[in-house]
């Protein structure tokens, strides 16, 4: 596939503080790419580099094979939906959406037709004459979406475009945006810190932290094969354990060897091991690879979430069966459910689920946990 946008070794710093550090990213034509990461990790900065509002200190930006480092924003064939909407306060809804076409001196009839189509698309029919200052946050956000789409961009940059919408509208707009992207064949570069949104909408997810890309991959890759402890922790729930790679396909943790599908590590290399809560089987204690005691159980609707103490390490396990607190259970893990990762700067940052209880649900939220770790 053709690359529409390529970022090569991009570095940016503000006031001597490094914001982006050696960013490499290729975006294919028609792809839905999501930049996912905690607040302040440099997502908006990356978009602004593509949009032309920031010139990187180092590295190159290519549109196709053309280097565009010094091309000003108005000459770039990309449009942005800004994080804070940035609507024009002196123009009504209609004129906001028409702005790009007016600049291009399009015909009146064409403008009217496009504006109408775009407003219908974002569910804002009948709002044409409204002043933007009288709109709710969600309505303003939808005007911003319509305004960018009306310009018929080749690449659309979306900076948390759904953040101000309520859950129902957000879900609808997610589907809507995805449909727009598919039917118009536009390349989307989408920024969010909502992992569910990222996983469900994207072709490719770019996980960022601290101004660096932690992992690029399909949503399934990112979820099933995280490359380091940060990604594992940030995406979904995960038990992150210290382990040692004894040999190819054989990893040891809690003093026990497990078969796994990973290879290519040094002999006896210390590693991080990830096991997702839903990938663990609970068996009779004597049949288990590990034995633990249930310390907490929470009903979550489709399943129970139980916390199991194994030699002082608290695991989270999702199961459809009820297990009473203080009951002793066995744990079995299939080889393909064990993900082995190289040690990284993030190793050891994310502990077990010992702080977990119903009241402290927030602590298990990857973002909050990450914030605390920084």
């Amino acid at each position: 596939m053709k690359d529409v946008i390529t970022l090569k070794d991009i570095a940016v710093s503000f006031d001597g503080e490094t914001i982006l550090d050696g960013l490499d990213l290729s975006i294919h034509d028609g792809e839905f790419v999501t930049l996912l990461g905690p607040s302040g990790c440099g997502k908006t900065t990356t978009l602004r580099i593509i949009g032309g509002f920031i010139t990187p200190d180092r590295g190159d930006v290519f549109f196709g094979d053309q280097r565009v480092n010094n091309v000003p924003p108005h000459k770039r064939q990309v449009n942005t939906i800004f994080q804070r909407y940035a609507l024009f306060p002196h123009l009504n809804v209609y004129e906001n959406v028409a702005f790009g076409m007016r600049v291009q001196k399009k015909k009146k009839a064409e403008i009217a037709e496009t504006v109408e189509k775009m407003l219908a698309l974002v569910n804002l029919k009948g709002f044409e004459k409204r002043a933007v200052s009288t709109l709710s946050g969600g309505q303003q956000q939808r005007v911003a979406i319509a305004r960018a789409l009306a310009n018929n961009p080749k690449v659309l940059l979306l900076d948390e475009p759904l953040a101000a919408l309520d859950l129902k509208l957000r879900k609808d707009m997610q589907v809507e945006l995805k449909n727009i992207q598919k039917s118009l064949g536009i390349t989307f570069v989408y920024v969010t810190h909502d992992q569910e949104e990222a996983l469900s909408m994207s072709d490719t997810v770019v996980v960022m932290d601290g101004g660096r890309i932690q992992q690029i991959g399909t949503p399934t890759d990112i979820y099933n094969e995280p490359q380091n402890a940060f990604v594992a922790d940030f995406i979904g729930e995960s038990n992150i354990l210290d382990g040692v790679m004894r040999e190819d396909y054989k990893v040891e943790f809690f003093g026990k060897e497990f078969r796994c599908v990973d290879f290519g590590f040094e002999k006896d290399e210390p590693v991080d091991v990830v096991v997702r809560p839903e990938d663990i089987d609970i068996v009779e204690p004597e049949k288990g690879d590990l034995i633990g005691r249930v310390t907490n159980i929470t009903f979550k609707g489709v399943h129970y979430e139980i916390i199991v103490d194994v030699k002082g390490f608290k695991w989270m396990i999702q199961t459809t069966d009820f297990h009473a607190v203080d009951s002793v259970i066995g744990i079995m893990i299939d080889p393909q459910e064990i993900q082995v990762m190289k040690k990284s700067e993030y190793s050891g940052l994310y502990g077990d689920y010992s702080s977990f209880s119903e009241e402290f649900d927030g602590l298990a939220d990857p973002e909050a946990e990450n914030g605390a770790a920084q």
Binding site: F53, P72, A86, H90, N151
Partner: protein, 288 residues
């Protein structure tokens, strides 16, 4: 609720009554009465009076000509101030916060000095042996006779009233977010387009305020014109002043003049605002 806000507004109401309504009432009274307190249109008629037998015309020899002359100088002053202030205010509004503070201070600094002093300073700058001519002399340009001309008056007016153009402009421009400008660029607007479609329409309220705050005082100014324009021509403010404190005072005509001037200024302001309305409604943009 209503009662409370009414009470809060009371001091303002008293102020308005004492210093706005009453003076206008007095002006009206003087303008439409003669020396005996009898109602008359004579004072107003006097403004348009000229003596054809002496070869005088309405446009050259009545008070009307002085009024038109003052409006013209006021217009020039306003336009020049706007041309100077607009880019200045915009660049101040785009600077860092600290630079903004410093620049605003520098703009206001001269306002803290008595305007008579400032005008005297301008006078000595422009005089035959003044700094300006000395400077021009360095380049071999002969000494210019600026003092006692309309140019000197306009220079003085612009100098005195420029801050009143810069400050209202700055205060609306500083509210134009960087993000709105970026959004316009993002949608394909080049520098000129951003200016025409975003910056200019958003600064219109400041332009209108600035125009009002410069035009009104420069049209009705006095002293500045006598100091810098010499005794050759008087502006209407000087004439009105002379009607009250001069050698041949005539309160009636002075008041009538003040009244006519006020009406003319109100008409000018109304026209400006109407022009703005009709232009901003079409296309939502701002036609240049």
């Amino acid at each position: 609720m209503k009662k409370k806000s009414g009470m809060l507004a009371a001091p303002f109401g008293i102020w308005m009554a004492l210093f706005t309504i009453v003076p206008i009432g007095i002006v009206l009274w003087f303008a439409f009465t003669d020396a005996n307190g009898q109602f008359t249109f004579d004072n107003v008629r006097e403004i348009f009076a000229f003596d054809p037998s002496k070869g005088e015309t309405l446009w050259n020899d009545s008070f009307v000509s002085t009024i038109l002359y003052s409006l013209w100088l006021g217009f020039l002053t306003t336009v020049i101030s706007l041309v100077i202030a607009y880019p200045l205010a915009f660049s101040i509004s785009r600077a860092t916060e600290r630079v903004q503070l410093t620049m605003v201070m520098l703009v206001m600094l001269p306002m803290w000095m008595n305007f008579l002093l400032r005008t005297q300073a301008i006078k000595s700058l422009l005089s035959e042996s003044g700094l300006l001519n000395q400077f021009l002399g360095l380049f071999g340009v002969g000494s210019l006779e600026i003092l006692n001309t309309d140019v000197a008056i306009v220079i003085g007016l612009v100098y005195d009233f420029l801050p009143f153009m810069i400050l209202p402009l700055y205060s609306v421009m500083v509210k134009i977010g960087k993000s709105e400008i970026e959004a316009a660029q993002d949608l394909g607007a080049n520098v000129f387009s951003v200016f025409r479609r975003v910056v200019l329409p958003l600064s219109v309220p400041g332009i209108l305020n600035g125009i009002t705050m410069v035009f009104v005082p420069s049209v009705s100014t006095f002293v500045i014109s006598t100091l810098l324009g010499g005794s050759k021509r008087m502006m209407i403010g000087d004439v009105i002043e002379s009607m009250f404190v001069g050698e041949a005072p005539n309160r009636g005509v002075g008041s009538a003049l003040a009244l006519v001037l006020m009406v003319l200024i109100l008409i000018c302001m109304a026209v400006t605002r109407l022009a703005d309305k009709s232009e901003s409604t079409e296309e939502g943009g701002f036609a240049l």
